[in-house]
Symmetry: C2
Subunit: 334 residues, 2 copies
DNA sequence: TTGTACGCGTTATCAA
DNA sequence: TTGATAACGCGTACAA
């Protein structure tokens, strides 16, 4: 079971170059107070022995890991991938490593992840997980791990948050639709356990309709293109029109495709809207009307905020990205 | 919530429960040789103090990190996301953390990543990076970090590899096409710096055409849907037909959309094939003919192989996933 | 069953 | 400018 790691240590470098390990440490950390001669000597033996400092030991000694924990529900959504990509860009730029924790939409896992984030000794964490409660996240904070939370307003000494603001734009979309004479009945496509973002959107949908006194539908579906596609193929055997609000592009595309494959016209008979739009909204046909938030930008911003938070230089602990409406061909421009 | 705590150490737990730290250590690691009474006492104070062991110190003491390094070019491709998702599934199941290194298609970065993988002290690494040379990867191996390499045949004491086999299926696709009387000129859509997988496919394309004595084209394009789309919109002003081999779904869809948006019919006038197909091949319209390899499965397998390798129980150090042809509507079924 | 003492590889604080 | 030496938080022979 043991690893036969013959790791070269700083001590061996010191011996081989005839100096003390303190000196080697200084060379490694590019501190001053070393003669050019000894520096060169040490660097040469470092090269020769192929010495690489142990990040573990360094972290233990300095109490800093240049490592940031990322908590996401799954790596499988395009918008999460974009988010992750923004994060990796900044991480590279600023010299941080990333430790990835995926929770798969289960609160249990999410909680056990919190424990791991703490034991892992990260310098900070970015949490994009809809299942986690305020209390769960405050637990991280109580261990004084600087944290940026996406999509969950949380106040705390070492916590900042980024809001993804869909509600207002969504409310406007709905009211505009009816005001301009939209005739189709709107249906919210509910996905089980898809997290708080969807739940909040659903609430907005219901509230707005009730306020307007309009009829509406809620349709349950799986969080999968194939299932949703076949479900809606059945659906369109009985219903020949509708305006469907879907969580993300894949779901919206499933509805769109089910409609067109069953002889219905999009957007004349069936309109479809995607809440969390990605580049695929432009790729599928008809192109999808959707809200857009540049998730790569969100990822970058989260990293910048977190780094400031780590340095205790974050003034504004909150930040908001507003969803931007992009009308395309899956809805009728009234 | 609680106030922000300084990190509680094992020593404080020991003092508070009136035992030695060795006993606390035994409790943590669920070893035997502890009275139920003292165990309970210790567990209670652990709970009370909110003690979490430092993974750092544990790793330093045991020389094991339960941490695996993942090297990928970018998190932004769907097939990479799927791969990552397979990995995270197994990581959760087996209790490993993942440290993510993205290299963005630059060899320089890829090399500096190697250094980081070594200093990070991971128990093992999975490398899916087309830019890395055999020598680069052997460097990791020389530090005896067990490694699974995707898409790069590498032999070594502590290295295993997984081959994504597109060549054979690709060659067959081409020869079948001509044998059955395909009339369109085939064009390989070349993306600059897209890595070895694409390069190998391009070579297969060229070789097969030369062997058959057929004319062919190579078209350069950007690795972006939007650019490719507008490039091909221009292209289709001059050319009214063709059979295009694209690297991945986004590129293929760009060509398809450019064709249909310019009044050409797919697949009658323009045929398109996607080498690395994902679920989006089914979503876009017309649906894309493509090769499919289940990248989530590849990710899982990579993890299982790596874990065996770490335990020195990996018998077969190589593994091969064959691309599977899925014919859909972007090509004519001859 | 429990405790002592040392080691893991590094940084950091003093003296020299 | 250098070199001992004490942390950092934990695991683990070995002894009690």
């Amino acid at each position: 079971m043991d690893n036969i790691k013959e790791r070269v240590t700083i001590y061996q470098v010191a011996q081989a170059s005839g100096v003390s390990l303190a000196t080697v440490s200084r060379v490694i950390n590019k501190q001053g107070n070393v003669t050019a001669a000894t520096r060169e000597k040490v660097e040469k033996t470092i090269e020769k022995l192929g010495y690489k400092p142990s990040g573990l030991a360094q972290s233990l000694a300095t109490n800093r890991t240049t490592n940031i924990g990322i908590v996401i529900p799954s790596a499988n959504y395009v918008y999460i991938s974009n988010f992750l990509n923004g994060i990796t860009d900044v991480a590279k730029e600023k010299g941080f490593s990333l430790t990835l924790f995926a929770t798969s939409h289960s609160r249990e896992e999410a909680i056990s992840v919190i424990e791991k984030v703490i034991t892992t000794h990260v310098d900070g964490a970015i949490i994009f997980d809809d299942e986690l409660d305020v209390d769960d996240i405050m637990k991280i904070n109580s261990y004084s791990v600087p944290t940026i939370v996406i999509n969950n307003k949380i106040q705390g000494e070492r916590v900042g948050y980024i809001t993804l603001a869909y509600e207002e734009a969504f409310r406007r979309l709905i009211t505009d639709y009816y005001e301009r004479g939209g005739k189709k009945e709107m249906a919210f496509v509910h996905v089980h356990d898809a997290g708080r973002l969807l739940a909040r959107s659903e609430k907005t949908f219901l509230d707005t309709h009730q306020k307007l006194g309009r009829l509406y539908k809620v349709i349950n579906c799986d969080d999968s293109y194939s299932h949703t596609y076949s479900d809606f193929c059945d659906y369109f055997k009985n219903y020949k029109s509708g305006y469907f609000i879907a969580y993300r592009d894949s779901i919206a595309a499933a509805i769109e495709n089910a409609a067109t494959d069953n002889g219905l016209r999009v957007p004349e008979d069936v309109e479809v809207f995607s809440l969390v739009g990605t580049k695929y909204a432009k790729i599928v046909r008809p192109t999808l009307s959707s809200f857009i938030i540049d998730m790569a930008e969100v990822g970058k911003r989260a990293m910048y905020m977190l780094i400031d938070l780590i340095h205790r230089e974050l003034n504004d602990k909150s930040c908001r990205f507003d969803a931007h409406l992009e009308k395309r061909n899956s809805t009728i421009d009234l």
